[in-house]
């Protein structure tokens, strides 16, 4: 049966470092009984069981049945409540080879650890009062983060940047609620304002929530990576360019197996931006008969991309198909590559195309910075309200809550214009307060009353 977050807390485990080749991989476990369970897979069972909190032991991760060694590891023991989740926990640091980590995870799962649900460590930390939700989400992203800019972004959020911004939107909303509530709870005789609610007050709080919500696009790129699709006619050199980028730039995620998907995806870091590079080559080279489906899928990938790299074979020049595609693409974020510049019969690159060679790497630096710029521009990282606030909303949960708050405020605004009475209108504002409150803590009626008493001179 599927586990859920609200089930009884069982011991859980997960790879805490990004998958792929690295010097060290860390496997986290946590939950009641996790130390005993971990010790069953550890060469120095008694020592691990007796270890005090925050102590590390060197030993071997073993397969309990056979006693076979999986890897030499460093096991760090945390005892409740002094751990990240507030539960007993053991962290294994092992060698960062995919084969080793895969085997280690399999052994631990066989021993009784359940694979953690997405964000479950953070959820438990939240449940145990170790962190608030904004922090919990930032921690999760910090753990996942693979690039410097992303790490800095996550850190900035941890330091409360986002909390501050949301808190300020929150206090603006409280002020609006106070404006409404004072009219509902106090008669004009008692000092309640005679005039109705000013639509401009609603507009102000709307714009501050909207700014946060809009910054989601850029925040998502840092948290999840920008989706960059490499497209072009067959044999234009898409795969060569794809491979060149993996070679030239630090690769975070190793190439995903092509067996389950018919496109290839890899993670690279581009001027500090995490990028998920998607080669659609497999789609076009699909067996006959599935061609149409491949094309449709390719279109969907292109449509969902943050940027597109369109590759043209410079020795062949532009075909009508290329022109049609690019015309349809219009102004959307696109880098046009004039490939095979090293080819003797290569034509000169037309306006708007970057000449380069995916084979020799010629022209690559210019291409890389053009792509990074395109991603930033497309996500609103330059100019616009989103960049001014300095923090980004990265989690889709937060984005959804902000959008729900916006929707409620819009309903209140249109209600105000339609002449809906204030008592009914206050429901929409209350709903907005609930949505926003889910991000940084509830807006209580005591807080609203506080705002009323400090802002209005009341009482007969």
């Amino acid at each position: 049966m599927q586990r859920s977050y609200l089930d009884d807390p069982v011991p859980i485990m997960a790879l805490a470092t990004p998958p792929g080749e690295s010097a060290i991989a860390v496997i986290r476990t946590a939950g009641p009984g996790s130390i005993a369970l971990a010790s069953s897979c550890f060469s120095r069972k008694a020592a691990l069981l007796a270890a005090s909190g925050h102590s590390s032991l060197f030993g071997r991760l073993i397969e309990p049945g056979s006693g076979d060694t999986v890897d030499e590891v460093l096991a760090t023991v945390f005892r409740a409540p002094s751990s990240a989740t507030g539960e007993d926990a053991v962290e294994f640091s092992c060698h960062g080879s995919p084969a080793v980590t895969r085997k280690a995870l399999a052994v631990l799962e066989a021993a009784g650890f359940a694979p953690a649900l997405p964000g479950e460590f953070s959820f438990r930390a939240f449940l145990h009062g170790k962190t608030d939700l904004v922090r919990a989400e930032a921690v999760a992203e910090l753990v996942r983060s693979g690039s410097e800019a992303e790490r800095a972004e996550a850190l900035r959020r941890l330091e409360g940047g986002l909390s501050d911004r949301i808190a300020s939107a929150r206090s603006q909303l409280i002020a609006v609620l106070a404006e409404v509530q004072v009219r509902l709870d106090f008669d004009e005789d008692q000092g309640s304002p005679e005039e109705g609610i000013d639509a401009a007050v609603l507009a102000r709080v709307r714009s501050s929530i909207a700014t946060l919500s809009e910054s989601y696009a850029f925040g998502r790129i840092y948290a999840e990576g920008a989706r960059v699709v490499v497209a072009g006619r067959p044999n234009a050199g898409k795969s060569s360019l794809f491979n060149l980028m993996l070679r030239e730039e630090r690769s975070i995620v190793s190439r995903e197996p092509g067996t389950t998907r018919d496109w290839i995806e890899a993670g690279v870091e581009l001027e500090g931006l995490p990028v998920r590079l998607i080669d659609t080559a497999g789609l076009r080279d699909a067996p006959a008969g599935t061609e149409a489906e491949g094309v449709a899928r390719s279109r969907r990938l292109v449509a969902g991309a943050d940027a597109l790299v369109y590759v043209v074979d410079g020795s062949l020049g532009l075909a009508p198909e290329d022109l049609d595609f690019l015309a349809a693409r219009g102004k959307a974020a696109t880098v046009r590559v004039w490939n095979k510049a090293d080819h003797p019969s290569c034509l000169s690159a037309p306006e708007g195309f970057l000449a380069m060679s995916a084979m020799t790497g010629e022209g690559f630096p210019a291409f890389a910075s053009a792509l990074a710029r395109t991603i930033r521009d497309g996500s609103g990282a330059h100019g616009g309200g989103a960049s001014e606030i300095g923090v980004r909303v990265a989690s889709s949960r937060q984005k959804a809550l902000l959008d729900r708050a916006l929707q409620s405020i819009d309903e209140a605004s249109s209600g105000l214009a339609a002449g809906i009475p204030l008592d009914a209108l206050s429901l929409d504002l209350r709903a907005a307060a609930d949505s926003l409150g889910e991000i940084t803590g509830e807006i209580s009626s005591a807080e609203i009353l506080e705002a009323i008493f400090s802002g209005f001179c009341l009482g007969k």
């Binding site: 939240f126 009062g129 009219r183 008669d187 209350r430 009482g459 007969k460």
Partner: protein, 618 residues
């Protein structure tokens, strides 16, 4: 036992408690220091107001007395909040204070099974276990036995009055405090605190110049009580004037002698009812503050200066009042003063208002840290009902937050306590659209019937009201919006052919049932027509409100066992653990409203309460 129940105090809480107990057949004694003073309106000469009017109507719907008392003593009536939305509008009436008080006394005297006795309770006594109340001891040495006691001491327990540098023991100006009881309760381990409230000066009507003030009249009087179809009363106007810079200068000159700022008063006062000196200090930019000059009654010359509550020295009071247009020659009959009094921490009460410390002891009104006649009366009624049910071993009547402001009031008090005198606000109610003043009987009279507080007359009227509103609803769903309607009002254009009850849901469509079917006004009381119109108008919003409150209701339903061990909840923050252990909330909803209990704590509790107890896991 001499009596089945003793009610200490004859204020608004005591009256409701005593009447409810006697009406439910309990041999009841009310002990009060002064039988002349029962039902006194100590402060403003008005009953009702936003959310408070709802309380009065709920008290009436449950079989209480307050609605009838104000109906028969009102000298001006207004429906407040009309411009803010029909769901929050609420009646307020100016009262003839002396008449109100004498009506209260008459109601008590007329009640079979209720005895009245003038004395001052100085202590309670218990059985040998010390855990069950058995009666009261009085200042004159009377020892009166009773299986339950309702404590409604208002502002009188160990109270002190303050005017400038002057201070003396007293509960109201000229009336002695009830000394001894607070000290005795402290000795018995009760948790008592101090609160403060204040009142303005009363001036002689013959010394004011109404030519310099704006006249404020009420509207046609309408009843609070569901037992009345109409009210016919002589009315009197109020007068409106304003303070000015001169007044503020005089007020500032007396600040150094104000007991509020000198530290003489330790109790907390209400923020929503600040003294004039507090208003001047906190809002220095305000050039003027509104003052309402209100008659204290028809048989007295005294006028109440609403908005000028003060405890400044008397010379300062006289001086600043005389800077105000219309009051330049005003003669003070009674100065304004502050009163500081003992209250019991209401968090030590069950939702029945019974003490957790002492079985059979019930506490209501200002003694619980509330403020206001209506809040007091509502608690008195709840305490009286539940004291009677305690005697018969029935389950306590606990109204939910979704069915009555009374439910919100009691739940807030016993869960959150009172950090300042607690006043009702509509915003305290999550379901305020459903808690309309006109629907109080629909919500609560069935409960009164079950408890035994709805007499034949009330039940008969209630039945007629139900049938009447059903009939109106039926007629209004058969009445279609016609082209002729739309021709005279373009807002009706989109609704041609629609039933009236549906068209009313559109906020652009003004008026109610009687606008379209004026012939019904002759057949049905106005209020019934309004109820049907508002039910239609608010059906959509109420559904929305219900969705919003849904999360809350789930939490309200989730009960926390009385012996629940918070220490066993893994990861609960220590602050929350402490707060929860002290407050012992009965539901997760109550727990989540406690200050210091974070959302994560509530989430943890949810998890802990949702799973079966498993002792095997550490």
């Amino acid at each position: 036992m001499d009596y089945e129940a003793i009610v200490i105090g004859g204020g608004h809480a005591g009256i409701e408690a005593a009447l409810a107990l006697a009406r439910l057949g309990r041999r009841t004694l009310m002990v009060t220091q002064d039988l002349e003073a029962v039902g006194r309106l100590s402060c403003n000469p008005a009953v009702g107001g936003l959310s408070k009017g709802n309380l009065v109507r709920e008290i009436d719907a449950l079989g209480g007395q307050m609605g009838l008392l104000i109906d028969d003593s009102m000298i001006q009536y207004r429906m407040l909040g009309r411009s803010r939305g029909p769901a929050v509008q609420s009646p307020r009436a100016q009262a003839d204070k002396a008449l109100y008080s004498s009506l209260a006394r008459r109601a008590l005297e007329a009640q079979a099974g209720l005895s009245l006795f003038m004395d001052c309770v100085v202590d309670i006594f218990t059985d040998d276990s010390g855990k069950r109340v058995e009666g009261v001891l009085t200042a004159r040495g009377n020892r009166i036995g009773s299986a339950c006691v309702v404590l409604t001491t208002g502002t009188f327990m160990e109270s002190r009055l303050f005017i400038g540098d002057w201070s003396a023991s007293g509960g109201r100006l000229g009336e002695p405090a009830a000394l001894g009881l607070g000290t005795a309760l402290r000795a018995r381990g009760f948790s008592l605190g101090r609160m403060k409230t204040g009142t303005p000066a009363r001036i002689r009507a013959g010394t004011i110049d109404t030519g310099e003030m704006a006249r404020q009249d009420g509207e046609e009087c309408r009843p609070f009580s569901f037992l009345r179809d109409s009210v016919s009363r002589p009315v009197a106007p109020c007068w409106v004037t304003y303070t000015n810079e001169d007044s503020h200068r005089v007020i500032r000159s007396g600040m150094d002698r104000s007991p509020l700022f000198s530290g003489a008063i330790v109790g907390l006062g209400p923020r929503y009812c600040p003294s004039i000196e507090d208003k001047v200090r906190r809002f220095p930019e305000r050039e003027r503050h509104q003052v309402f000059v209100e008659p204290e009654g028809l048989q007295t010359d005294e006028m109440y200066l609403n908005g000028l509550s003060t405890s400044l020295p008397e010379d300062i009071q006289a001086a600043f009042i005389r800077t105000i247009p219309g009051l330049r020659q005003a003669e003070i009959a009674r100065p304004g003063y502050a009163v500081e009094y003992d209250y019991l921490d209401p968090r030590r009460l069950e939702p029945s208002l019974q003490s957790r410390l002492l079985k059979g002891l019930f506490v209501a009104g200002q003694t619980n840290g509330s403020s206001g006649y209506e809040e007091a009366a509502a608690q008195g009624l709840v305490a009286g009902i539940n004291a009677s049910r305690f005697l018969s071993g029935d389950e306590a009547m606990v109204l939910s937050r979704a069915e009555a402001y009374i439910g919100v009031l009691v739940d807030d008090l016993v869960t959150l306590g009172a950090s300042e005198p607690y006043r009702m606000f509509t915003s305290r109610a999550e379901r305020r659209l459903s808690l309309r003043q006109d629907s109080a009987d629909l919500r609560l009279t069935p409960i009164a019937a079950e408890i035994g507080l709805a007499d034949e007359e009330r039940l008969e009227r209630f039945r007629r009201r139900l049938e009447g509103t059903d009939e109106i609803r039926e007629l209004a769903s058969r009445r279609r919006i016609t082209r002729e309607d739309a021709a005279s009002d373009p807002a009706l254009g989109p609704h041609i052919g629609e039933a009236l009850v549906h068209a009313l849901r559109d906020p652009k469509v003004s008026g109610g049932v009687s606008r379209f079917m004026p012939e019904l006004e002759a057949r049905f009381p106005l209020e019934w027509l309004e109820t049907v119109a508002l039910d239609s108008r608010y059906s959509g919003y109420e559904a929305k409100e219900e969705r919003l409150a849904h999360r809350m209701e789930r939490a309200e339903r989730l009960r926390i066992p009385g012996d629940f061990d918070y220490a066993k909840v893994e990861g609960l923050s220590s602050e929350a653990q402490e707060k929860l252990a002290a407050a012992r909330p009965r539901t997760l909803g109550q727990a989540s409203r406690l200050p210091g209990v974070r959302r994560s704590d509530a989430a943890l509790l949810l998890v802990a309460l949702s799973r079966p107890v498993d002792s095997s896991r550490g």
